[in-house]
Symmetry: C2
Subunit: 283 residues, 2 copies
């Protein structure tokens, strides 16, 4: 059985470890923090753990599960350590800058994005089966060897995830729509409300807010560091989505100014239908 | 015990009837449809039902639970029927045009907005206790007699709702923020996604859409007639909210174009905090 390396033992890294150990892989984990290494061993997420990347010298496939900003620096540090046949893969939520940078450093690289998460983070909430039924997008580079891609695919399928292959740019545009734009739109909604200048109205709005506001504002009230990373690493795609979204808001403004209620009803009828096409695959 | 009239036996009218009957009021219901009248009696939402408003000639307080567009026409039809001491109240989700129009027709009017709902509508989903713990906003007119306001307040409190009093314009601005703007923002998000011109990206976005998209798009994929009514009857407040929201989207665009990631993180930190102020009263 292959040796699997995991760098970064948080929710995602830890959960990958739990599943792969259960499947019989030998899992080597690296975390900067000694305490996390101990916890990963205790929870059964890894066979061995260390705060030194040198532990991974004999890993066949290495999952880089660090924050986005550390993925390329980690690859640079791994290069002098790993063997020429080692395959590197990551779990970052943005793919174009990662795949471009990583493939130049190490052609045996397969970009990856498992789309599973939780409100909480960290090894302590890692769980067996986190990826079951969830999308796992693979974005190999143009010159990534086919057999490396296949090896990563086999491992990722063994997590019971739904595997998709695509170009990194296609991935980034798709997640800009369904993940990054919603964060900005949702945060914009909260900010706009807070700008209400009449304190009586603001207080009343806060008292009356209920499920509609709660759901629409949820992702805009989430992790600020994560939102910043989306904007920073997926800026081209997210700008493209934001421009298009602003056009839609302008359209609504125009229809209301023109008192064209019929077209508003038609538009909402279209969105009612379209939403189903986005969510029909969900349970 | 007072006679209570209810015009419009849907989810809201039916649920008010169920609660008030349980409390011992004599409840008279009017629906255009004979079948709904029968169902209301069978379910115990009313003591008597009719498709003629004349049934309400001896009602002390009448809840008008029709769609917004029919509230003022219903009041006009009630005037020749009811006694001079009858109190009229409504349950419309927009208050300024209703209260202005109604008070001119019938000074003994108290605007109302119970903020409870369900995904389904109609008498068949009416339920006892629907308003328990939910806000119920009362917006009397400037000349509504104090004892009429107090009578409606007593009834509404007996539904175990949280009663708020405010000016109709304050109500409409508040719900524009937390209910109507979210519908437009959420619908705009769905429309923008559907405008993706690359079919591979669109299909991928649909396949990858999950909880973040589901929550943010929920109210924009809801009842189109209801969304149209919000825009039509609350156009001034909703335009005001939409302008402010568009400014927020423009700000995000500007920050990303300027590559000012720090300010984006700060903004998302603020919205994370602000969202709690909107939802802390929720369970």
């Amino acid at each position: 059985m292959m040796n699997i390396g995991i760098v970064g033992l948080g929710l995602i890294g830890g959960s990958i470890g739990l599943d792969l150990r259960t499947l019989g892989y030998h899992v080597l984990g690296v975390s900067r923090r000694e305490q996390t290494c101990q916890q990963a061993i205790t929870l059964g997420a890894v066979n061995q753990a260390s705060n030194e990347l040198s532990l991974l010298s004999r890993a066949d496939v290495i999952f880089i599960c660090t924050p986005i900003a550390l993925i390329l620096p980690t690859i640079k540090q791994l290069i002098p350590i790993v063997s020429a046949t080692s395959i590197l893969t990551d779990v970052g939520s943005v793919k174009t800058p990662i795949v471009e940078g990583a493939c130049q450093l190490w052609p045996n690289f397969v970009g990856g994005h498992p789309m599973a998460g939780k409100a909480e983070s960290g090894i302590s909430v890692a769980q067996l089966g986190l990826f079951t039924g969830r999308p796992y997008v693979l974005t190999p580079g143009e010159n990534t060897p086919r057999e490396s891609i296949e090896k990563v695919e086999v491992i990722v399928r063994s997590l019971n995830s739904k595997v998709y292959f695509c170009d990194p740019r296609e991935h980034d545009r798709a997640v800009a729509w369904i993940s990054h734009l919603p964060v900005m739109a949702s945060a914009g909604l909260i900010s706009a409300c807070m700008n209400e200048t009449n304190p009586i109205v603001l207080k009343l709005a806060q008292e009356l807010a209920s499920s509609g506001f709660r759901d629409t504002s949820r992702v805009g009230g989430g992790n600020p560091e994560l939102g910043r990373m989306m904007a920073e690493y997926n800026s081209v795609a997210i700008l493209r989505s934001l421009y298009s979204f602003r056009d839609q808001i302008d359209e609504f403004i125009q229809y209301i100014e023109q008192e064209d209620w019929q077209i508003i009803e038609q538009k909402l009828s279209d969105t009612e239908q379209s939403r189903k096409e986005f969510l029909e695959h969900e349970i």
